[in-house]
């Protein structure tokens, strides 16, 4: 009996596995293929071995971009995850205000990503934007086109504005799945608010939080559209993230070989960091029970 159930179960996973494998392996194969070859055009390719990888690793520009990228994702996670959980905890659990909160919360998520950049570009301009204008009026020296610090603040505020809701929504859905009995038991035990959070809510949210962290990490690590629209990677190259560099290489200069090598190293970096996050979180979840 057990056995038949198991076999049927695998049969059900199979379509997804085949689809994902298909969508993963074919592009990856092509990229690997480009990364080890050189071309002078006319579709003639030459074996280049690991030359592109060596060149990329020697390139200071890439290391700088990687540093900026790590800092960006780090700041994003440190702000968005606690803030999202905090918002979810403070959201009403029933009544009219629930739908009001959810609608307002999901507003930024509903905006197409190229519009998000445009909105903040206009909003933050010192001459015509309300934000830039107000800041200038109260005496803050703010100009994201010339001051690197202001540019960083702008893209971080923009990303926090855009994506914190996703974390909050996921956390909220996780909270809603906690049976009332748990809270009643905690009440009987006279557990403090902190204890309820630490021993009931947080462990129950672990699963969705893992999704939130991984999604936010991956998306912020591959962010392209929004900073490109707002700052174009500047001033100088102070907000040039890895993906902006990659686009310059692949589409601007048509250096398919180096761009492919870059993609693979980019991919491996994300994979490594995600794996670390995942392992740590899974262990935590196991320990919490």
């Amino acid at each position: 009996m057990e056995k038949t159930v198991n076999q049927k179960a695998w049969f059900l996973v199979l379509p997804v596995l085949v689809l994902v494998a298909f969508s993963a392996v074919i592009p990856l194969m092509t990229v690997v293929n480009y990364s080890v070859q050189d071309t002078f055009g006319n579709n003639q390719f030459f074996w280049a071995g690991l030359e592109w990888f060596k060149e990329m690793l020697r390139d200071d520009r890439m290391w700088d971009a990687l540093g900026r990228q790590l800092m960006f994702s780090g700041i994003i996670l440190l702000i968005q995850i606690p803030l999202g959980v905090f918002i979810a905890l403070n959201m009403p659990k029933s009544g009219f205000w629930v739908s009001f909160c959810l609608v307002v919360m999901s507003l930024p998520l509903l905006i197409p990503w190229n519009v998000v950049g445009t909105i903040w570009q206009i909003f933050g301009r010192v001459d015509i934007g309300l934000l830039g204008h107000t800041l200038a009026a109260i005496g803050v020296d703010y100009n994201y086109t010339s001051d690197p610090f202001a540019a960083w603040v702008t893209i971080i505020v923009m990303d926090v504005w855009h994506w914190t809701s996703l974390v909050a929504l996921l956390a909220y859905a996780g909270l809603k799945s906690i049976p009332d009995a748990y809270y009643q038991a905690a009440k009987i035990d006279q557990a403090s608010r902190w204890a309820v959070f630490r021993y009931i809510e947080l462990p129950k949210m672990m699963g969705v939080l893992m999704i939130a962290i991984l999604l936010r990490f991956m998306d912020s690590f591959m962010i392209y559209t929004e900073p490109f629209v707002v700052t174009g990677g500047g001033p100088g190259s102070t907000t040039t993230m890895l993906s902006i560099d990659l686009v310059k290489m692949a589409l601007g200069q048509f250096d398919l070989g180096p761009a492919a090598a870059f993609s693979i190293m980019y991919f491996l970096t994300i994979l490594l960091i995600s794996w670390v996050f995942y392992t740590v979180m899974t262990n935590l979840e196991k320990r919490e029970g």
Binding site: V16, V115, H133, K176, S263
Partner: protein, 276 residues
Amino acid sequence: MARAVTTNRKIITTAVAWTIALILFFPIFWTILTSFKTEAQAINDPPLFFNFDWTLENYAVVQERSDYMKFLWNSIIIAGGSTILGILIAIPAAWSMAFVPSVRTKDILLWMLSTKMLPAVGVLYPISLIFVEFNLLDTRLGLIVVLMLINLPIIVWMLYTYFREIPGEILEAARMDGATLRDEILYVLTPMAVPGIASTLLLNFILAWNEAFWTLNLTAANAAPLTAFIASYSSPEGLFFAKLSAASTMAIAPILILGWFSQKQLVRGLTFGAVK
């Protein structure tokens, strides 16, 4: 005393909630407001709030230049098609991962997510070649398939997480009563998982709706959704802020309206979920 503290807390929470709501809404509000100004008023110094001549001119110009309904329809078909297709494929898989776990389940989940980690720019070229090969360039079908494949790992993962919260005993009880696998998924699991499925559906619809890399690079005139509609206003004439705002507002409006209704659906799902 305790009562006073609670009231204070309530006031603070409400104030914070309103501030957050205002901050979230304001940039959008500003864009909508700008869309009703003339180009000269849009770049007025100081910025104008309500004291300007409201005009619908920008909307008229935008509509005249590009057929809005066609872009809207493409967006609906592409986002809806890819989400529904993805959910249908993912439900059985998430079911078996959640209720018949094996040692490999966790690894498979991470591996599926890892397929999303290859930078899109890096694979644009190969994907374009495949699209040309199969005549999928600038078709809705092509985009439905691509966006479905992109979001499938997230859909599976989210459903798996929600399904796992459902007590397995209920499924065992159903099995005792002679339910087949199909009955189990259709009549026991799905109704119980409605809150989870609803929020998965909503989130992925939004993700597909807003995706602005593949939709811009794999379409031209026929299958272009609303993201392309806006892009056509933002790149060549970046200085026409009022028209850009009008185009943005037109692109946001349908999903905001739909969001309002599906949110109610979602709230109902979240509140009356059988998970309790």
